[in-house]
Amino acid sequence: MEALGLLMHGFAVLLTWKTLLLMMLGLVLGIFVGVLPGLGGPNGVAILLPLTFTMDPTSAIVMLSCIYWGALFGGAITSILFNIPGEAWSVATTFDGYPMAQQGRAAEALTAAFTSSFIGSLVAVMLITFLAPMISSFALKFGPPEFFAVYLLTFCSFVGLGREAKHKTVISMSLGLLLAGIGMDTVSGQLRMTFGSAELLRGVNFLVAVIGLFGISEILLTMEERLALRGHAAGISLRVVLSVWKDLPKYWVTLFRSSFIGCWLGITPGGAIAASFMGYNLAKRFSKDQDSFGKGRIEGVFAPETAAHASGTAALLPMLALGIPGSGTAAILLGGLMVWGLNPGPLLFVEHKDFVWGLIASMYLGNVVGLVLVLTTVPIFASILRVPFAAVAPMIVVSCAIGAYAIQNAMFDIWLMLGFGVVGYAFKKIGIPLAPFTLALVLGNRAEDAFRLSMIGSGGDMKVFWSNGLVGSITTLAIVLLFWPVIDKAFGSVTRMLRPAKA
């Protein structure tokens, strides 16, 4: 196995005191971000990104991915102890987690949540280890038309499969693609949509937009709510951990099912939120004792947590192998990679072997270290919630400003961030999804380049997107997915028309 050898090499790269220290630091910061109201995975990674600008790429990505793991772990703490889902994908965890805490079984619920997160991520990381090199070596044969087809597939599946109103997804995506186009056109060198402004010459930076959209707007949204909270603090003793672990084999079906759902939904842009609910619902449906769900059943914690984390991790697979992020946070990590001049995609596995395998190894190590860390330090993190939001909010604003400024050293970016904050606030409240916007902004230029390069190659003939079996089937699949709701409806009415005829 070539992959195993490279993975071992990756571990060797990581096992230095400096990297391990950065890993711990990243995890602590991540859990912090996950526990605090008004911050989550994507915001945390975006805000802390500037910290890593002066590091070498491997240390930087190790720290960033650890922030990501930390945030995933942290989300479970608040949903179980306080019934406040730190993230949308932790909502399903509150169903059974909070009742368990009320019954005085908080430690058990937390152990279950952390352990299942760990299992979910581990399954997904193993999938990445073996699948990513295969996919990327396959994708090395891709030319511009194939890449454009894959981008098209990503965009179309967001529109077709998203749960939001279709026109709102289209608005969000086309706006993102348009903003990505501002500035110098990379193919012809012409200026577009700058309206003579020197500031717009650089274009709209992806990370600035993300910091505004997720960081600032989230604070505005959090302020609207009543911030009083009441909950339990719990310490986890080794005895509880061992007793939960001893029962783990009993739930292997649930764990396996949720891991599978998570991996699948993580690779396709369905997302962790859908995965956690699906994991929970399926566990409930297949259970012999359905009524006990929602009243503090440990399986109700295992199922959604495993699925959410498997999906959150699996979202990194398409990012590494194809350069297409499977989630918002993956998109931000991708933005980070580009800051260090690394071009995510199939070539990454050839040109930057050390980096890729270091990252994959850090996923394993980060999860193990993270599990130990959260199990031992839960009481400390739960007490962070005692810090009043009036103290946390301005600190987050300052961190956002530092982050936005550090990217290009431009004051204009600070104002841009503020603008995006207000836009994000309004968009979230009227139901325009932000994930397609983020994805479009980060992929926009590459999608356009791929399109124009294929046009140059074919002499302006659109048939190039159906020129061979591979690109043809991806393009066709993209179009089918775009119109999926219509097709689904049509199929539904056809079968309904046929059924009475048969009977």
């Binding site: 348009l178 056109d185 949509m193 609207e224 325009i432």
Partner: protein
């Protein structure tokens, strides 16, 4: 196990009242956003058409891609406009109540002032003022606690970014006086 359980209770003294009158409905905001997006689509569409949205022998001109995207954006916002007008559900939903708006403004206005102050005083001094001011005025936290927290946080940021990681931030007269 339950004997290690400690209650954590956090109060929110300035929480928005639940019965506050609404300022805007979701529908109203939806309509405004759609109109703004439509205006943006028209502006960008026109600019790209001027740049050249045609097809050359070597493929599309630089305005081609964004021009058609503007059309898609315009179309979708037009659809959204009609959908918002017809939606009864959105008309009955509250976008923001007066008490909520007051709280949102309590963050937004200081943030804008902070960004303004940053240009003259530098980031670190502005941060100190923002944190101390916000904790004191909005959070009603004791003055000494506010000042101390603000000072410690700003100092940590300065040490981390300016000294340890060499990330350059806007600086003002105070940093100049200290010779950094």
């Amino acid at each position: 196990m339950s004997n290690t359980d400690i209650e954590i209770v956090v109060e929110d003294p300035s929480a928005p009242e639940a019965d506050s009158p609404q300022v805007a409905s979701v529908r109203a905001v939806d309509v405004v956003v759609c109109l703004l997006l439509l205006a943006l689509a028209l502006t960008l569409g026109y600019d790209n058409w001027r740049t050249g949205a045609g097809w050359e022998t070597t493929g599309p001109q630089s305005g081609y891609f964004p021009f058609y995207l503007s059309i898609i954006l315009g179309g979708a916002s037009l659809y959204g406009l009609v959908a918002a007008f017809l939606s009864r559900k959105e008309a009955s939903e509250v976008f923001v109540t007066r008490a909520q708006l007051r709280r949102v403004m309590a963050v937004l206005v200081p943030t804008v002032l902070f960004c303004l102050a940053m240009q003259f005083l530098g980031l670190y001094v502005a941060s100190f003022l923002l944190i101390a001011g916000f904790m004191r005025m909005v959070g009603k936290i004791a003055l000494w606690k506010s000042l101390l927290t603000a000072f410690v946080f700003t100092a940590v940021m300065f040490v981390t970014f300016d000294i340890a990681f060499d990330v350059i931030m806007p600086k003002g007269p105070l940093e100049a006086a200290l010779g950094r």
